[in-house]
Structures are given as structure tokens and as C-alpha cells.
């Protein structure tokens, strides 16, 4: 069991998302940074869809009521165990009674806490992800609050091996970190400044030539009215050559749509299933985790990428993540 002593700014339970019911208008949700979510799970021996805790900017204070193994990946929000800094991107064994809290955010926006066995919450339509607006999924359909108690799920065989391997021989030791961590090529996307790669969207050609140029060459700032549903972007306003009604159709994680006032909106995990605004672009899937780690107030630029190149990058990235998974497994077998 884990007690929530302080909730933090916005702490929710998420997994890979609620897919299969978007045709009924059910919002997908899921972890904003799927890479960190997934790697955190792999580090503690969970399968990739086990629920993790998504922690936003100002983290919670948690007390662990049992010996367990955790991993924290994603944005660096200065995690500390019993007051001492604790490493990210590696499994950490902790004793019953230890306290995890977060300090000043250093880089990135969202941290993912995985625990061996996962957070046990009821699944709704096949997913544990919290969708706050409809009050479904996660812990009672809402962000965590002070006083909540989370249950830990059953550990996989891999998690059990890992626990055994990391258990300190000296019973006085409160925590033990694995002597290895994830290679920096998996973690250096956090805080990276190079442009976000975007494919031209289905209605790209309907935009004025100037707008097409501006979209790929001028900076945009993430507005403070941004959330898990989407980032509102301010910068060069984008105009259609002529007013045209677009029929509502499916949108996806990373769709950039432009309402009539001309400020683009980048759709994220809690996006609507369908949209009726013209789509000027679609962020390449490999760059979505970087988007999820950007904060309101930060600025970004877009760079055009071809559909073929985006597909190749995604396949390559997935291969790398699969290799990482195998690499992690060899560490605790």
C-alpha cells in the first residue's frame, strides 16, 4: 500500500490509453509521455501497459507501506527518498516506511513513477487511464488527493527476480539503487531544443502560402491555458486561402488543428475523438514524448518531415525500445 501524504499539482494514474471505444466518442487518455511510462514499467519488471503514476511539475509526497521496487522516468522533478536525492531511470529497492517526495523541477514537465506490480485500480473499458472530465478510470476517476491509499498489484516473475537481486544484505539499509541505468540516448530527449518534426496535415494545402511558411519557420509559445487535452499555441496566426467548412472526422495524438481565429492547437492524450477544424500538421509519433515534456510558457518550432521518413523513424525507435527491454531483462535474470 501507498499513502498519499500530499497530492502534488496534478497526479493521475495512466497506462497506454483507452483504445477501442473512440468510435463511441470515448476519449483515449493515457500517459502523455508514452516512452517514459513504458521504460519505467520495464525497469521494474512490469509489462508495458501496467498503470504508472503521471506526476506533473510539482510532485506528490508518498509513503510506502511495504518493501517494494520503483523506477522514476521522464522529467527531472528532483525526486527524494527520505530527504536524499534518488536516481532516475533505474530500479530502486525501497523499504517499508520510506517516503518519496519531489523538489524543484529541473527539466521536463512530467515524471512517471512505476512500481513493481503496478498500481491496482479498476479498468474501465479496458484501460486504467484517468479521464477526469468524464470521471472515469484511474483512482476514482480523478487526480490523487491527500489521504488516498493506493494498492499495489501482483508482481510478475521478472519483478520478483529484481526484488531478490536488489534486496540489501544489511537490513538497516533503507534503499538500494541498481548499479546500472538506462542509456542516455533514451533520456536525452528531455529538454532537447531541436525542432519538433511535423508532417503536413490533410488540409495543409488550404492554408495561405504565408501561413504554410510561418508554421514551419516561426516559433510558437505554449499558452498557459494548455492541458492534457491540448497545447494552445501562440505565434504567427494561420489563415486559410478561403473560408471552408471541414466535416468533422477523426483526429489523433499530435494533430495540429487551426480554429478560425488562427492560433493552432496541438491535440494530446485527452483530445476529442473527432474534430472539425482544418488540420495543418501532424507531429511525428517519435517526437510526441518531447512535446509531453514541454511546459506552458516554453516555445518550440516545427520542422517539416515526410510521411515516409516519419514512419521509418517510428519503426527504428520501436526497435530500439524493444532492444532496451531485452537489455533490461538480462540485468536481473
Amino acid at each position: 500500500m501507498i499513502s498519499v501524504l500530499k497530492a502534488g499539482l496534478m497526479t493521475t494514474i495512466q497506462d497506454q490509453g483507452r483504445y477501442g471505444n473512440q468510435k463511441n466518442g470515448v476519449i483515449a487518455s493515457g500517459a502523455m509521455d508514452q516512452d517514459s511510462h513504458r521504460i519505467a514499467n520495464q525497469l521494474v519488471g512490469n509489462t508495458t501497459n501496467v498503470p504508472t503514476m503521471e506526476i506533473t511539475l510539482m510532485g506528490p509526497v508518498l509513503e510506502f507501506q511495504q518493501d517494494t521496487c520503483i523506477a522514476i522516468c521522464g522529467g527531472h522533478l528532483t525526486p527524494m527518498i527520505d530527504g536524499e536525492p534518488v536516481s532516475m531511470w533505474k530500479p530502486v529497492y525501497i523499504k517499508k516506511g520510506t517516503e518519496l517526495r519531489f523538489g524543484q523541477p529541473k527539466s521536463g514537465f512530467r515524471s512517471y513513477l512505476a512500481i513493481a506490480g503496478g498500481f491496482e485500480v479498476p479498468t474501465v473499458m479496458g484501460s486504467a487511464s484517468t479521464y477526469i472530465r468524464a470521471g472515469i478510470g484511474g483512482y476514482k476517476g480523478r487526480p490523487l488527493e491527500k489521504g488516498d491509499t493506493l494498492t499495489i498489484g501482483r508482481q510478475s516473475e521478472d519483478s520478483q527476480y529484481l526484488m531478490k537481486k536488489l534486496t540489501p544484505s544489511d537490513p538497516k539499509e533503507r534503499l538500494r539503487e541498481a548499479p546500472w541505468f538506462v542509456d542516455s540516448s533514451f533520456t536525452d530527449y528531455i529538454g532537447a531544443k531541436h525542432p519538433i518534426r511535423v508532417m503536413p496535415g490533410r488540409e495543409y494545402d488550404l492554408f495561405e502560402t504565408q501561413s504554410q511558411y510561418d508554421f514551419f519557420h516561426t516559433p510558437y509559445t505554449i499558452d498557459s491555458k494548455s492541458d492534457r487535452m491540448g497545447y494552445r499555441l501562440t505565434g504567427s496566426t494561420l489563415k486559410l486561402k478561403e473560408k471552408k467548412d471541414i466535416l468533422s472526422e477523426a483526429v489523433a495524438f499530435g494533430t495540429v488543428q487551426v480554429p478560425p481565429e488562427g492560433n493552432p492547437i496541438l491535440l494530446l492524450a485527452d483530445r476529442q475523438t473527432t474534430g472539425g477544424y482544418p488540420k495543418i500538421g501532424q507531429v511525428a509519433s517519435v517526437d510526441l514524448p518531447r512535446i509531453a515534456q514541454m511546459r506552458p510558457g516554453e516555445s518550440l518550432t516545427f520542422e517539416q518531415i515526410s510521411h515516409d521518413a516519419a514512419q521509418r523513424l517510428l519503426l527504428h525507435h520501436e526497435t530500439k525500445l524493444k532492444q532496451l527491454q531485452r537489455g533490461i531483462k538480462t540485468k536481473y535474470l
Partner: protein, 237 residues
């Protein structure tokens, strides 16, 4: 019917049957949807049907590693597969479900009914009768969980959205926005002109099929009084 295909990013493909909102086009969309429901291809994550399109989300890694030819990109494979599917697609004579939606019109539950009547030079009773006479088709579900895009409202009662959108519209509200009518499944902000409310739950996450309505359903609005509304509402809770 002619169709085109387009990518939606690097993990989805859109089949587009044109730009007309009509029953014939939407029927093509439903034919594809029910085919995918029957086949449940293992490379597909899910699909989202809309007025004139079906968007198919796929697993590019699965396709690249288990199905497609060496060096063939996942999108190209899905496009070929969908062309083949469309050329062999049979019409199973999609039947529509008919669903009655009971509505308590006017009064506190339909505060904009007087405005809709005045604007269209009708009496409130005439507006209600016109709204009930319509033959409605659910073209798609989108925007919010269980929210139906409904076609078929008589233009005689068309009314523009409110200038000042309400911050909360209660679940079950039946409204008019331009030439559309709709029902709100969950409480949300919005600018629709509210003419009544239904006690029926349009979205219930506890049910196996959480959305009461599906694309392709025929719906009819029936009239109930305030007492019926209260009683049915209590039964639903």
C-alpha cells in the same frame, strides 16, 4: 462509390467517401465499419467512423514485422489491404436500430424554447411538433463520450447558437445549433439552444457498450411530461 485514401500521421489511414453529408455516403462508411467489426484485423488498433470518412488506426510495428514485404512501409501495406477490402466489400444490407428518446420539452428543462419559437415565428407547440416529426439519423459519434451528430432536423426550426455560451449544460439536454439537433451525454459547457431534456443516459461507462447510440441508428424524439421525466430519471439513477 469513389473513395480516396490519406494518411493521418504515421499510424492511421483515412478512407474518404467525399464531402457530402447524406445517407448514401454515410451508408458506405457504415459498410466499412461493420466489415471491420466482423473481421477485427489483428493489425488494427481501432477505427473511428465520421460523416464521410473512416479512419483506421493501425500498429505499424506489428505490420512491419509480421505482415508487410521487406522495405514496404506500414502505410503502403494498409493502403493496399484497404483497396482490396473495398473492392470485395459486400453489402450486408446494414439495418438500422430504431431508438426512441423521450424528451420533456420546454419549461425549466428547455429554457430556450421560447426564443427558438419567437425567432422562427412559430408557437412553442409548433416547434415541439416539428422537432418530434423529424426522421433522424445518427451520422457519427464524436466530440464527447456518446455525443451523437444527428441529421434530419427540419430547417424551419433552425436557430443559431447562443451568443453567450452556458458554462454548464446538464447531461441529457436536447438542443438546437444552426440546422443541427443534438443531445448532450455529459455535462459540458456549450452554446446550444436548449429546448428540452431527456432522462435517458446516453453515456454510461459502467455498461459494456457505454454509448446508447451508435452511428447508423435511427432516432425518434417522443414527448413526456415533467412527472414522467422525474420518474424515469429516478429509475435511471
Amino acid at each position: 462509390m469513389e473513395q480516396t485514401m490519406h494518411p493521418l500521421g504515421d499510424q492511421a489511414l483515412i478512407i474518404d467517401f467525399g464531402d457530402r453529408i447524406d445517407e448514401e455516403t454515410n451508408y458506405e462508411v457504415r459498410k466499412v465499419a461493420s466489415h471491420l467489426d466482423r473481421e477485427k484485423p489483428d493489425w488494427m488498433v481501432e477505427y473511428i467512423p465520421a460523416f464521410t470518412t473512416v479512419t483506421i488506426f493501425y500498429d505499424p510495428f506489428y505490420i512491419a514485422n509480421h505482415i508487410s514485404k521487406a522495405n514496404q512501409l506500414p502505410y503502403d501495406w494498409v493502403q493496399e489491404e484497404m483497396r482490396h477490402m473495398l473492392s470485395e466489400l459486400k453489402d450486408h444490407g446494414q439495418t438500422s436500430r430504431s431508438i426512441d428518446i423521450p424528451v420533456c420539452y420546454g419549461g425549466e428543462l428547455g429554457p430556450d424554447l421560447p426564443y427558438v419559437a419567437k425567432r422562427n415565428n412559430m408557437t412553442e407547440e409548433e416547434v415541439i411538433a416539428t422537432h418530434m416529426e423529424g426522421e433522424y439519423l445518427v451520422y457519427m459519434i464524436g466530440f464527447a463520450p456518446g455525443f451523437p451528430y444527428i441529421g434530419g432536423m427540419d430547417k424551419k426550426i433552425a436557430t443559431p447558437r447562443r451568443d453567450d455560451p452556458r458554462l454548464t449544460i446538464p447531461a441529457g439536454s436536447v438542443g438546437i445549433a444552426g440546422e443541427q439537433t443534438g443531445v448532450y451525454p455529459i455535462e459540458t459547457p456549450g452554446g446550444w439552444q436548449l429546448i428540452g431534456r431527456t432522462p435517458v443516459k446516453l453515456f454510461d461507462p459502467k455498461k459494456e457498450t457505454p454509448s446508447l447510440l451508435q452511428a447508423g441508428d435511427r432516432i425518434r424524439f417522443t414527448r413526456i411530461n415533467a412527472e414522467d421525466y422525474k420518474e424515469m430519471k429516478e429509475d435511471e439513477e
